[in-house]
């Protein structure tokens, strides 16, 4: 009985708007740190500024070390 009461009380107490916002933060953060290969932020600019095909994904490079350290697959 006590347990049942607690459950109804607490699950009603989670505001939908908070869940929505936090899920947005989750998706965005995990994607750019863990998975982005240049699709997302469009930071893929040529490393030497020549405009050649070969480019550097600066966002990926910036988050790169943490991607390895957090166990995501990388190069």
């Amino acid at each position: 009985m006590l347990v049942g009461n607690q459950i109804t009380k607490t699950s009603e107490g989670v505001p939908r708007i908070a869940v929505g916002i936090l899920l947005g933060v989750l998706a965005f953060g995990v994607f750019i740190v863990g998975f982005d290969q240049g699709e997302m932020l469009g930071f893929t600019v040529p490393a030497d500024g020549s405009g050649s095909e070969q480019g550097t994904n600066w966002a990926h490079e910036f988050y790169h070390d943490m991607r390895h350290a957090a166990g995501f697959p990388c190069h």
Binding site: M1, V3, G4, Q6, I7, T8, K9, T10, S11, G13, V14, P15, I17, A18, V19, I21, L22, L23, V25, L26, A27, F28, G29, V30, I32, V33, G34, F35, Q37, E61, F62, Y63, H64, D65, M66, R67, H68, A69, A70, G71, F72, P73, C74, H75
Partner: protein
């Protein structure tokens, strides 16, 4: 607790734990990453490409700084998921009324489901291991395994709640055995069924193992910190909002 307070403590706890992770990794994991990148550079140099050492040092300095920012962002996002899970599950955790203990327990379960399980199947690798050609394939494998672990834990958590709510003590006792066993069975099946990481490890094994152990320790520390900080904030925020409510009465 108000929605805005809940969001604030969730984001703050995540950001703090993540930033600390980024800072600790500067001394704990970076030596391995440095060593791996030196190996890569050595290989690049042998293939005839010229690297300017000063430029490269500046670039690595910038990149290491990025790890701290990335830690903050990762902490914010993992913290967000954690906050949601805690808010929904804390009512079903029996045995204690201590929110700090519950916070740590939830962090421990999520660490197990979202970090340890995928890491056992697809162990983290330092730079110098891994073929860029297979990155999308490796990412899909990793995401698939992570999803199997995460969603079966989620489904089983609902089932657990249902079983615990059924008031018979016998069902509760059963739930404590059945739910973890079901999870173990699903994960063992997935472990055997999913293909292995296709890339050969062609870096020194000491480097790879050292990197894996050290990074696993710092990530585990991150989850523990997240639980401790969030639990403290949750209690503090509850205390304050109760005080305000009492004053209004």
């Amino acid at each position: 607790m108000k929605a805005i307070t809940f969001i604030a403590i969730t984001l703050l706890a995540g950001a703090i734990a993540g930033t600390i992770l980024g800072i600790i990794n500067q001394v704990a994991v970076e030596p391995y990453i440095e060593q791996a990148i030196e190996l890569e550079m050595h290989n690049t140099a042998q293939s005839g490409q010229v690297i300017n050492p000063a430029e490269f040092a500046a670039y690595r300095f910038w990149q290491k700084g990025g790890e701290i920012i990335a830690g903050t962002i990762l902490g914010l996002s993992i913290g967000s998921l954690y906050g949601i899970v805690f808010a929904y599950t804390r009512g079903s955790i029996s045995g204690t009324n201590n929110n700090k203990k519950k916070a740590l327990l939830v962090a421990g379960i999520m660490w197990f489901v979202l970090f340890l399980m995928p890491a056992l199947k697809y162990p983290p690798n330092p730079p110098a291991v891994g073929d860029p050609e297979t990155i999308y394939y490796r990412q899909s494998l990793y995401v698939a395994f992570l999803a199997i672990s995460g969603f079966s834990a989620l489904g089983l958590a609902f089932l657990y709640r249902k079983m615990v709510m059924a008031s018979s003590n016998n069902t509760k006792k059963k739930a404590i055995i059945i739910i973890p066993s079901a999870y173990a069975a699903i994960m063992a099946g997935a472990y055997l069924a999913m293909p292995a990481n296709p890339d050969a490890i062609n870096a020194p094994i000491d480097l790879v193992i050292g990197f894996r152990i050290t990074s696993a320790i710092t990530i585990s520390m991150f989850w523990a910190l997240l639980g401790v900080i969030f639990g403290a904030f949750w209690d503090k925020a509850n205390f304050i909002s109760n005080k305000i409510a009492a004053r209004h009465n």
